[in-house]
C-alpha cells in the first residue's frame, strides 16, 4: 500500500489497526448497529418444516456490551458494543451470522476482524474447554463454481483441548427441499470432514476467567480469480495455506457474484458459547 494511503488509514483510530487492500468493501464497527449481519437460515419451501433441521435455529446476533455478573460492562475493543453470537445451552449447538453482498471484480479480497469467544459465565470454573469452535466462512460464486472456504479454531472437542485451526473442503450431500425441484440445501458446517491446517496449533489468550475478554486479530485472504485461499492469520501467527482448499461445487442457479461471509460459534457442553466480533473489514483490490 502506498505510504500516503497508509498514512490516511493511520490517522483514523478505527482503521489504523487494519491492513486493508485498496478498496474497503465494508467496515463494520458494531457501535453503529448490526450493519447487515443476520442469523443464517436454511432454505425452505411452503413450510419452515421443509428446512434441514440443522438450520432451524441458528440464533439471532445481538449487540453486546459484554456485561457480566461480577464486573459489569466489559465493553468492546473499541467502544461499548460488539456483535455477539450465542448458542443454546446444548452440546454441539451452533450459532451462525452472515452478511451477504456480491463482488464487482474477481480479484484479491481480504477479511479482517477483531474477535473473542467465551463460555457463559454460569459456573465459577475455568471453563476453558467449554467452547468447541469458532469459525469464519466465505460463500462465493463465479460463472463456473460455487466455492466455500471454511476455517475454524477448534478449541476443544468432547472435553479435550485441541487449540488448532482447521479447514474443510469435503462437501456435504445436497438434499431436495420442498416438492417443486427448485431448491436444494446442504449443511456445510457438519462436524465431519474437517482437516488440520498444517502446524496450526495456537494457544489464544483465554485469560483464566469466563468474564475477561482479550481480543484477537483474524485475517483471511482469497483470490477470487484463481479460487485460492492465500493467507490465514490469527494474531502473530501466519498459517501455511499450501495444502488448504475450499469446498468446490458446480455453479448453482441465482447465486451469481455471491460474496457472503459468515461467523459461527459452537459449544462443546450444555452451556451457551459466545462469539464476540468487535469489528469486521472486508477489502478488495481493483
Amino acid at each position: 500500500m502506498a505510504d500516503q494511503a497508509r498514512a490516511v488509514l493511520n490517522a483514523d483510530p478505527m482503521l489504523s489497526r487494519f491492513d486493508p487492500l485498496p478498496r474497503i468493501i465494508y467496515h463494520d464497527d458494531f457501535n453503529r448497529g448490526l450493519r447487515g449481519w443476520v442469523e443464517l437460515i436454511g432454505n425452505y419451501e411452503d413450510s419452515l418444516d421443509s428446512m434441514l433441521p440443522q438450520y432451524a435455529d441458528m440464533r439471532p446476533p445481538m449487540l453486546s456490551s459484554g456485561t457480566h455478573w461480577d464486573t459489569g460492562t466489559h465493553g468492546a475493543m473499541q467502544g461499548t458494543y460488539s456483535m455477539k453470537l450465542a448458542t443454546r445451552a446444548r452440546a454441539g449447538d451452533i450459532s451462525v451470522s452472515i452478511k451477504r453482498v456480491t463482488w464487482r471484480h474477481r480479484g484479491p479480497v481480504r477479511l479482517e476482524a477483531y474477535f473473542t469467544f467465551k463460555p457463559e459465565a454460569s459456573e465459577l470454573k475455568l471453563s476453558v474447554d467449554d467452547v468447541r469452535a469458532v469459525g469464519v466462512l466465505f460463500d462465493l460464486q463465479d460463472e463456473a463454481y460455487r466455492w466455500m472456504p471454511h476455517w475454524r479454531y477448534l478449541n476443544a472437542l468432547e472435553g479435550e483441548p485441541v487449540r488448532s485451526w482447521q479447514f474443510k473442503r469435503e462437501r456435504e450431500p445436497f438434499h431436495d427441499i420442498g416438492g417443486r425441484a427448485e431448491t436444494v440445501s446442504h449443511f456445510h458446517l457438519a462436524p465431519t470432514g474437517w482437516e488440520n491446517v498444517p502446524d496450526s496449533g495456537q494457544i489464544l489468550c483465554y485469560n483464566e476467567v469466563a468474564t475477561k475478554f482479550n481480543w484477537y486479530y483474524l485475517r483471511m485472504d482469497l483470490d477470487l480469480a484463481s479460487r485460492q485461499i492465500t493467507h490465514l492469520q490469527c494474531n502473530d501467527r501466519v498459517h501455511d495455506v499450501t495444502d488448504v482448499g475450499p469446498m468446490m461445487i458446480p455453479a448453482m442457479p441465482n447465486l451469481d457474484c455471491m460474496l457472503n461471509v459468515a461467523f459461527w460459534v459452537e459449544t462443546d457442553v450444555d452451556k451457551r458459547a459466545f462469539l464476540y466480533v468487535d469489528s469486521v473489514l472486508l477489502s478488495g483490490e481493483w
Binding site: G33, L48, M62, L63, T67, W69
Partner: protein, 110 residues
C-alpha cells in the same frame, strides 16, 4: 440521527410446552421493545395463558418485569416494555397437553 432499530426472531417454530423461556437477548442499547408472538400452531387449551416479560442483571438470573402478553384467539399478540436494562426474555407455562409453535419477534428501538 436515525433511531437504531432491530428485530430479532428469538423463537422460530420450535414446539413449546410446559415451562419454557426464550433465549436471553442482549439489548441494553434499546430504549423500547415489543414482543410479538405469532402463533403458527396451537394444541390444547390456551385459555387464560399469558407469557411474561423477564429482565436480568447478568443474562443468567431472571425476574418478572411485570408485563405480559395474553395468548388469545388472534394470530398475533404483543406486549410493550421499557426500562428493561440489558437483557430481555419471555417466559411461560403451558398446561399439560397444551403446546404452541410460534414465531416470537423482539422488536427493539433506541
Amino acid at each position: 440521527m436515525l433511531r437504531e432499530s432491530y428485530t430479532a426472531i428469538v423463537e422460530r417454530s420450535e414446539e413449546l410446552r410446559g415451562d419454557f423461556a426464550t433465549e436471553p437477548y442482549e439489548c441494553g442499547w434499546a430504549g423500547e421493545a415489543i414482543f410479538f408472538v405469532r402463533i403458527l400452531e396451537r394444541e390444547g387449551n390456551l385459555e387464560g395463558i399469558s407469557l411474561h416479560v423477564q429482565i436480568s442483571p447478568d443474562g443468567i438470573r431472571w425476574c418478572d418485569e411485570g408485563t405480559s402478553v395474553a395468548l388469545g384467539e388472534e394470530e398475533v399478540a404483543f406486549c410493550k416494555v421499557v426500562h428493561f436494562g440489558n437483557w430481555l426474555r419471555l417466559s411461560g407455562r403451558l398446561p399439560d397437553g397444551a403446546s404452541i409453535r410460534a414465531i416470537i419477534a423482539l422488536s427493539l428501538k433506541a
